[in-house]
């Protein structure tokens, strides 16, 4: 079996989740809106799933949960809803390190719809510039959208604090918590967060299912209009099997939270420490003191990430990279650039994202093969000499 360390990209659907879903393909296939027994069985289970999502988020009411097709749809729905709900407010505050689900939408709203977008910068460790954030807030802002945790570095933003600040100017606060849900404890009932996006496939549920949390009383305008499903907030026949899967995955995540915070974090720390010790000219990116428990992002200087991934793949190890080449674009990851990670290292940034399924043996294998891979590629690199880093080279980032 391969070693899968790309859980921030997607996770394995837990077999218990699959088992929970199967009857909703084969036996309980009715439309929950239908007036017969086939439909009734499904409707009840969907409400059970809603309750499980509610519990994982610590939300006050189950009606605050709307099922969607995933993180991207939840993000779009939240932002567009806020703009429609507050048409006089023509500004949006977000950060430079958001997922494209937010950034591309904001680019579009800016260039085509004339909204003003404030993109708050981060420091070298990926922490948000709170002064700039405060400056950007005003009564012109319809919605603030700041992610709970970053998908590349795992760095956590102080969303509760940020939400409180947004509230003072009457702006709605949305958070893309796709990477945080299931990895960090949450208590939305006692929170200023108005809307939150989550995605099933990041927490061992299937792809193509997610949810948007909308605090009771928050003005909301649906993106998809049609049938009365989800109380008119998201029309379209429910993806019942996937919703059931998401419910089960949330139940399991709640039970596994302690494992995530201790065992997974310990393995991640072990991996990081060993790599930095064994390999010259590499460093951990993001804020080591305030991160998701499962994410390690190590930048290796003078080599390119895709080449690293291809060699890792030969060893049966799956990871990911912020290099330009893996995305098919010319720029390395916008997150690395935003943190000021120099080009010499940004192209070699490699992300290992663990899950509760990751074992100590797997981590030890990575620790064993990684130095050889890096050395092999550095030998090919025109920027590397036998003596190590080129003479006179001063790392900008340390």
């Amino acid at each position: 079996m391969g070693i899968y360390l790309d859980n921030n990209a997607t996770t394995r659907v837990d077999p218990a989740v699959v088992a929970e879903m199967l009857p909703f393909f084969t036996e309980h296939y009715g439309n929950p809106s239908s007036m017969h027994g086939y439909g009734a069985a499904v409707g009840g289970k969907i409400e059970w799933a809603r309750g499980e999502v509610q519990k994982l988020l610590g939300a006050a009411f189950d009606t605050e949960i709307v099922f969607t097709s995933g993180g991207t749809e939840s993000d779009s729905t939240a932002i567009l809803s806020a703009l429609k709900a507050y048409p006089k407010r023509r500004e949006i505050v977000t950060s430079v390190v958001e997922h494209p689900a937010i950034l591309s939408l904001c680019d579009f709203l800016e260039s085509k719809e004339g909204y003003k977008i404030h993109r708050i910068p981060v420091d070298g460790k990926g922490n948000l510039d709170l002064e700039k954030y405060e400056e950007a807030l005003s009564e012109n802002v319809a919605v603030v959208s700041i992610m709970w945790a970053n998908n590349e570095t795992g760095t956590i933003f102080p969303v509760e604090l940020l939400a409180g600040m947004a509230k003072k100017v009457g702006a709605l606060f949305h958070t893309d918590a796709v990477q945080a849900v299931g990895k960090l404890p949450m208590n939305l009932a006692n929170s200023n967060i108005d809307m939150l996006s989550l995605s099933g496939h990041k927490l061992h549920a299937p792809k193509g299912i997610g949810a948007l949390y909308i605090k009771r009383g928050v003005r909301y305008r649906p993106m998809m209009r049609g049938g009365h499903q989800e109380r008119g907030r998201r029309a379209g026949t429910e993806n019942a099997p996937a919703i059931v899967g998401l419910g089960k995955a949330c139940e399991m995540a709640r039970e596994a939270m302690a494992v995530e915070l201790t065992q997974v974090a310990a393995l991640r720390d072990r991996l990081e420490k060993a790599l930095v010790e064994a390999i010259p000219n590499c460093f951990v990116t993001g804020n080591p003191a305030n991160r998701l428990p499962n994410t390690a992002n190590v930048a290796f200087e003078f080599i390119e990430g895709e080449a690293i991934l291809l060699l890792l793949n030969e060893e049966g190890i799956a990871a990911s990279s912020g290099s330009a080449c893996t995305s098919g674009s010319l720029e390395p990851s916008h997150v690395m650039r935003a943190m000021g990670v120099p080009y010499t290292a940004a192209h070699g940034a490699t992300r290992f994202s663990l899950s509760r399924d990751t074992t100590a043996e797997e981590i030890d294998t990575v620790i064993r093969v990684m130095p050889g891979i890096i050395e092999r590629l550095r030998k090919l690199s025109p920027y590397w000499t036998n003596q190590g880093a080129p003479a006179g080279f001063q790392p900008v980032y340390s």
Partner: protein
């Protein structure tokens, strides 16, 4: 995950001629660490015979960059300098049994490093005039920089023109939004705006329908039927108009026959046989329908019914 060919993988996992060539008398360096690709090519050229006796490379870059470098050295060792100069980026890509469209620039980097190294050997100056931008059209590997140049040099103002000049957008058409966005930005710089496309372009089919049920007020449509000679003249003139575009790509077009609604043409040079052929045919057909004001079919002569 990229769909890399076995040949490419072989050259990535076991690159040939990697490392420093101490006795090099020609060195070419292209790319930079900031764009994520850099290649240093070192050659040892025998001065008497001008034969490249040895070649080595050092590359910072992705799998295809490393494989392209390795392939390049294999392709040029044993060739004279002049022979080596005939190697194009496409040859490198072909040698590797193809590269994904997003990765074609890796082969371009190889071809440029070669030219830089040979210029260095000859004591000439080599300027890196290569810029690249975001890949806009995957089907034809056209990036933003290419479109920008075409728009500036030829004062293009519409999506259709961009397609005619660069091919971008001529096949699956999924890149049209990106092209229009780019065009809008470029035109804005010149103080112009992108004309919104007419609600629905008068499609060829509409002309055909009109023949069945002519509308009362039909401004542009031909009032009376054209004679055969008139039709031929119009077709010839239209083909002449398109010829410069085709020649730019090393191709040409020739009128073979007009048989009622069927117009037979011969594509030659780079146009024939390439994946562009059907696109080119489609382009010619659109043009002819527009000029003739009637629905016609353009057919490659190879598909003419055998006599």
């Amino acid at each position: 995950m990229w769909n890399y060919s076995d040949k490419l993988k072989e050259h990535f996992f076991n690159p040939k001629n990697a490392g420093v060539l101490e006795e090099a008398n020609a060195v070419g360096e292209v790319g930079s660490i900031s764009c994520g690709d850099a290649l240093r090519l070192m050659l040892k050229v025998e001065p008497e015979t001008q034969v490249i006796q040895d070649a080595r490379f050092q590359t910072f870059g992705c799998g295809s960059a490393i494989a392209s470098s390795s392939a390049l050295t294999e392709m040029i060792i044993g060739k004279t300098v002049d022979e080596a100069l005939t190697v194009t980026n496409k040859d490198i890509a072909d040698f590797l049994e193809g590269l994904p469209p997003e990765k074609m620039h890796c082969s371009v980097m190889g071809a440029e490093a070669l030219r830089a190294a040979i210029a260095n050997y000859r004591g000439e100056e080599w300027v890196d005039d290569h810029e690249e931008g975001e890949l806009i059209c995957k089907c034809f590997g056209v990036d933003a920089a290419m479109i920008e140049r075409a728009v500036e040099v030829n004062a293009l103002t519409t999506l259709e023109q961009v397609t005619n000049y660069t091919k971008a957008g001529a096949s699956c058409k999924t890149c049209h939004e990106k092209i229009e966005d780019l065009l809008e930005t470029l035109l804005a710089k010149q103080g112009k705006t992108l004309e919104p496309v007419a609600a629905k372009e008068p499609a060829a089919a509409v002309v055909g329908l009109d023949e069945i049920a002519p509308l009362a007020a039909k401004p542009a449509a031909p009032v009376k039927k054209l004679s055969n000679v008139q039709r031929m003249q119009i077709v010839m003139a239209a083909l002449d108009e398109m010829r410069p575009y085709l020649k730019k790509d090393g191709g040409d077009v020739e009128l073979i026959d007009i048989d009622g609604k069927n117009i037979y043409v011969r594509l030659s040079g780079a146009c024939s046989g390439c994946q562009m052929a059907s696109v080119t045919i489609e382009g010619i057909q659109t043009k002819l329908v527009e000029k003739l004001g009637e629905l016609v079919r353009v057919i490659p002569h190879t598909m003419m019914a055998a006599e």
